[in-house]
Amino acid sequence: MIKKLSFVSILMLGWALPAPATADVRVFACEPEWAALAQEIGGDKVSTYSATHEKQDAHHVRARPSLIAKIRRADLVICAGAGLEVGWLPLLMQRGARSNVRPGKPGHLMAAQHVPVREIPTVIDRSLGDIHPEGNPHVHLDPRNLTLLARELSKRLSVIDSQNSALYSRNLKSFENRWEMHMKKWNIRAAKLKNMPVVVHHKSWSYLIGWLGLKEVGSLEAKPGIPPTVSHLNRLLKTVSAAKAKAILRTPFDQSDPSNWLANKTNIPALVLPFTVSRNAKPGALKKLFDDILAQLEKANGRP
C-alpha cells in the first residue's frame, strides 16, 4: 500500500515538475538494429541516425562526408564493434567525432563488448580470409543479446541525459517485459527448429544459429569475406546433400548467384533472410525481424 502510494506520488511529482525542454540525445548508430534499439529505450528523447541501411553490408562502407557530419554532432555512438566497422568508423572518429564519444566514454558503445562473443579465432592470418581477431561481430541476431544491450543503452542514456534517466529505466523495463514475452514464444518455436541443418553464405548467422540450436553444415564462402568459388561450391554440393540441409541462408546484400546455383543443384531452398530492420524502423520492428526470420525457417524446415 505504502509502496503503491509512493509510486503514485513519484509519478505525480514527475508530472507536476516537468523537465525543462532539452535537445534530443543524438544517437549515431552504425547499423539499423542499434538505431531501432536506441529508439525503444530512448523513446522521443532521442533522435537516431543509422549510418547504413538494411541492404548494406556494414563491413564495406565509405567514410562519406555525410557520416562525418552526423558523427560530429552525435552524443552517443552505438555500433556492433569487434572490427565490423574497422574500415570506416576510426576514420569518422578521427575526422569529426566529439570527445564525448571517444572510446572509453559513456557515449561510445560497442555491442560486442557487452555480450558473449562467438568465434574468437586462435590463428590470425590474412590468408584465412577477412577474419575478425575480436570474434564474430554480428551479435544482434541472438535476441538475448538485445536484452543485454538494451540494459547497457539505458545505463548510457541515463548518464548522458541524466534528467530523463527515470524515463530510460521505465522504457527499459517495458522493453524487457515485452521482449521476455516474445522470447517465450520464440523459444517454443525454436525448439521445433533445433538441429535443423542449414548452409550459410557468410558467417552472418552464427548468433542466430547458436540461439536456435540450428546446425551449420556448410558455408558458401570457403573463407570469410572471400567470395565463393566454383571449386568450393562443387565440394559443398556433396556434403550438404549428405547432411540433408534444409535451407541455404543469405542476407539481402550477399551475392545471389552462389546460393541460387546450389539451390538449383540440390533442391534445397535458398532463403534471403532479413538481416536487420529498416533504416527508419518503427517501434516493434525488432520483434518483427525475429518473427520473419523464424517464419521463413519454419517454412523451410516443414518441407519434406
Binding site: 541501411h53 567514410a63 562519406r64 562526408p65 560530429r72 575526422r95 574468437i120 575480436e134 570474434g135
Partner: protein
C-alpha cells in the same frame, strides 16, 4: 527470507491440497479461497524465481564476457589489436610501360621531377613504408617513407611525417590540428597516396602544378561545422620548400585556405564539393631537370567535385564514381630557361588545367575507367619564345582508359592506355601494366 517462507508454504500447501478431497459443500468456498491464495503465492513465487534466474543468467553472461577479455578459449595469445605498437604497412607496386614517343615534354609548362612521365619498360614505383599509431590520448602520428628511383639511384624520400590532434586533445569539438609533413588538403587527389589512385599516373594539372603532390613542411588547421550537412574549412602555413614553392629563405613561404561541403542524395549517392587556394613565395623553383627556374609569386586556385553512386548501397559490389578537378594558376615573377638561354624574363599571367574521370565497378573485383585531362597554357612572352615555356599555341591533353582487377582489398592489378599530345604534333601512345599490393596494416581511405 520471504522467498524461503513462500517456498516452504508452497511445498506444504500443494501436496496437502492434492491429497485432500472436497468432502463437504461448505468447504467449497473455503477451498476456492485457499486455491486463489495458493495461486497468488505461486505467481509471486514464480516471479521471484524468474527474477533470480534472470539475475543469475545476466551475471553468468557478464562473467563469460569478462572471462573472454582475459583469456581466449584456446589459451593462445589474445590479439585484440596492435594499438600499443605502431601499425606497420608496406605498399609495393611495379609496372611495365611502353611509350611510342621518346620524349614527353609538356610544352609551355615547367615540369618537376615527379611530374614527368614514368619510366619505360619494367620498373618498380614508389615503395611506401608507413608507421602510424596514437601517441597518447591527445595525438596521432603517422610517417610514410617512400623508396623511389630517381636519376638511376634508389632514394629515400620522407613523404609524410606528421602529428595530428585527437578529439580528446582539448581543442574545441570539430577542430583539428595537423603539423609536420603531410599531403595537405588541396583538391581531391593531393590528400591521397598515389597507390590509392584510380589511374596509374596523376592527371596533367597535378603533374605541372603540384609536381604530383604538395607535401611541404607545415601546419594545418581544419574545422568541421556542427551541421546536418558536411561543412569543413581550414587552412595552413607551410615552409615554402616544396613545389609549387621552392627554396624558402624565410621558412614561412606558403599558405593555404579551403572550404568544402558534402552530403548524400537518398540512400546510395554521395557527393563532395570543395574550393582551395595555395599561395607561395617562390624564392627559386627549378624544373625541367634544373634548366628552368621561376622566381616570384605563385597563386594556385582549385575546385573539386566527387560524386559516387552505389546502386544497391554496397560500393564493394557495384559503384560509379565521377570526379573532376579544375586548377587556375597565376604567377608573377621571372622565368629563366638556361637550356634555351633566355635569361630572366618577366612573366605575369595565368594558366588552367582540369581533368574529369569516371570509374565504374561492374563486379566486385572489376572496374573500368576513363579520364580526360587538359592544360590551357598561358600566352608565351616574347622573351620565352622557343624555350620550354613556349606552348606554341598548343594545349596539352591526355586521354586515358583503364581496367583493373582487385582480388582483395589489399591487391590490385591494372592495365591502362594513354594517348597524350603534350607538345604540338607529338602523339604518345602509352601502355601501362601495373600492380599495387599492400601488406600489414592499411588505414582506411577517405571518401
Amino acid at each position: 527470507m520471504t522467498l524461503r517462507y513462500m517456498r516452504a508454504a508452497a511445498a506444504i500447501a500443494v501436496p496437502v491440497l492434492l491429497a485432500s478431497t472436497p468432502l463437504y459443500a461448505a468447504d467449497k468456498q473455503e477451498l476456492s479461497r485457499i486455491l486463489s491464495e495458493i495461486k497468488t503465492l505461486k505467481k509471486a513465487y514464480e516471479g521471484r524465481i524468474a527474477t533470480l534466474e534472470n539475475k543469475i543468467k545476466s551475471l553468468e553472461q557478464k562473467k563469460a564476457v569478462a572471462g573472454k577479455k582475459v583469456t581466449p578459449a584456446s589459451g593462445g595469445r589474445a590479439i585484440k589489436d596492435n594499438s600499443f605498437n605502431p601499425s606497420l604497412g608496406i605498399i609495393l607496386n611495379g609496372r611495365a610501360g611502353s611509350f611510342s614517343q621518346d620524349g614527353s615534354e609538356i610544352a609551355g609548362f615547367g615540369v618537376g621531377e615527379e611530374g614527368e612521365r614514368g619510366r619505360e619498360g619494367l620498373a618498380i614505383d614508389e615503395s611506401e613504408i608507413n608507421f602510424s599509431a596514437n601517441v597518447d590520448d591527445k595525438f596521432y602520428a603517422s610517417s610514410t617513407v617512400a623508396i623511389v628511383r630517381e636519376e638511376g639511384e634508389d632514394k629515400v624520400e620522407l613523404e609524410e611525417a606528421y602529428i595530428q590532434t585527437l578529439p580528446d586533445a582539448g581543442l574545441p569539438d570539430g577542430l583539428r590540428l595537423k603539423a609536420g609533413r603531410a599531403f595537405w588538403t588541396l583538391g581531391y587527389l593531393n590528400e591521397h597516396h598515389a597507390h590509392g589512385d584510380d589511374f596509374a599516373d596523376r592527371p596533367l594539372p597535378y603533374r605541372v602544378y603540384l609536381n604530383k603532390s604538395f607535401n611541404d613542411d607545415g601546419i594545418e588547421v581544419s574545422y568541421v561545422v556542427p551541421a546536418d550537412m558536411f561543412i569543413e574549412f581550414g587552412g595552413g602555413i607551410f615552409r615554402g620548400d616544396d613545389f609549387p614553392a621552392g627554396d624558402s629563405v624565410s621558412g614561412f613561404g606558403a599558405w593555404s585556405a579551403y572550404a568544402r561541403v558534402g552530403g548524400d542524395i537518398g540512400d546510395n549517392q554521395s557527393w563532395r564539393l570543395g574550393a582551395y587556394t595555395l599561395h607561395s613565395d617562390v624564392n627559386s623553383r627549378a624544373t625541367n631537370e634544373g634548366a628552368v627556374t621561376f622566381v616570384g609569386k605563385s597563386n594556385l586556385y582549385a575546385a573539386d567535385l566527387r560524386y559516387s553512386w552505389a546502386p544497391t548501397g554496397n560500393a564493394r559490389n557495384q559503384e560509379l564514381i565521377f570526379q573532376t578537378e579544375f586548377f587556375h594558376r597565376s604567377e608573377d615573377g621571372t622565368y629563366n630557361d638556361t637550356g634555351a638561354g633566355t635569361g630572366a624574363v618577366n612573366f605575369d599571367d595565368g594558366s588552367q588545367g582540369w581533368y574529369a574521370q569516371a570509374v565504374y565497378k561492374f563486379a566486385p573485383a572489376w572496374r573500368v575507367g576513363a579520364r580526360y585531362s587538359q592544360l590551357l597554357a598561358a600566352d608565351t612572352p616574347a622573351g620565352l619564345a622557343e624555350s620550354a615555356l613556349d606552348s606554341a599555341g598548343h594545349d596539352p591533353y591526355t586521354m586515358s582508359v583503364m581496367a583493373d582487377w582487385t582480388n582483395s582489398e589489399f591487391g590490385r592489378i591494372r592495365v591502362q592506355y594513354n594517348r597524350e599530345e603534350l607538345s604540338d604534333g607529338r602523339d604518345d601512345n602509352q601502355f601501362i601494366l601495373q600492380y599495387v599490393m599492400s601488406i600489414g596494416a592499411h588505414a582506411a581511405h577517405a571518401f
